[in-house]
Point group: D3
């Protein structure tokens, strides 16, 4: 841990906000695939990649002033 900065790591923290409704298997796959995508493109070591999922309730998300719950 103490030499994490030595190789010019990008130290990525990825936050995925998405509407509720995805299964736990989907979330597991999401986290794995996103981690791989970041490792492949930024040269971060896998251990340096953190992913956080933030679920949004449908009445807490809107595009064009219209919430996902108000359809």
């Amino acid at each position: 841990m103490y030499d994490i900065y030595k190789e010019d790591q990008s130290m990525p923290i990825i936050t995925v906000q998405m509407l509720e409704g995805r299964s736990d298997d989907q979330k597991k796959a999401l986290v794995e695939k996103v981690t791989d995508a970041v490792v492949d493109t930024t040269g971060a070591s896998k251990e340096a990649v953190t992913v956080v999922i933030e679920e949004m309730a449908k009445n807490h998300f809107a595009v064009a002033g219209k919430r996902a719950s108000d359809q």
Copy 2:
């Protein structure tokens, strides 16, 4: 745009925080690969995926109380 909610989209917004120092080509590839990873695993349509990169200066990021700039 107006029927975005019809097919139970996840409407993902992905934020990638990482240390400064990646090239523009790396950022382009990062955005493409992360978008694909999210489409593949959550069933979102590609058009529904937003990615934001936030670069962190090395004196603004620390692990274990030690900043990346203080090595």
Copy 3:
């Protein structure tokens, strides 16, 4: 969707963090009024505006070191 960048859109994503306790009608009005405010002042098209609400529990929010739940 593919020409979203053509007219120099601001592509705003607005996040409203607030203490729990507002009604669903208040949230609906909040999202509508905030969207209008952003369209009016930044020249974004309405369809380009995303709003996310994040509710904070009263024991998870503090000013001056004192939580809203500890009054």
Copy 4:
């Protein structure tokens, strides 16, 4: 400040992420109008409303895997 919680304030913190390119006057108007929208709909007192603007560079924002800088 010490009685901020007394009247069930919502204590809103609004973050507006948007692409660079808006003028300072637009930002000033944005902050004023968004504050008013939040006061009107959530019953917060004006003094309790905080607004933060976060500008995104065009090569740091993508929809559908395509960055605003890559058009």
Copy 5:
């Protein structure tokens, strides 16, 4: 409130994301100690410091592509 900017305050907003499982007493102490740390080091007045806690579910947090719930 109206002269908050007069003394070059830093107006800090601190967000602590952490895995669920801490007690309410731990959160109370966390908020107090973090507020003191920010006051001591940035010269902010205590009243100007806001702290928000965001708990992460164990299936919503991963390091190295592995979620805390998948051990």
Copy 6:
């Protein structure tokens, strides 16, 4: 790194948003003191604590609809 979840770590990520104007020494001390405060109160190991500083420009921050730059 691989046994980070073993002891029910809180895996905290702390984000400090504050107005520009603090010195690099202040930021260094801030990061150290905040890390200690989180370790002391949540039982996280020091190596598990990440701190990110996000500076806000004075024309990008407002309370009560008035920006820090408009005084």
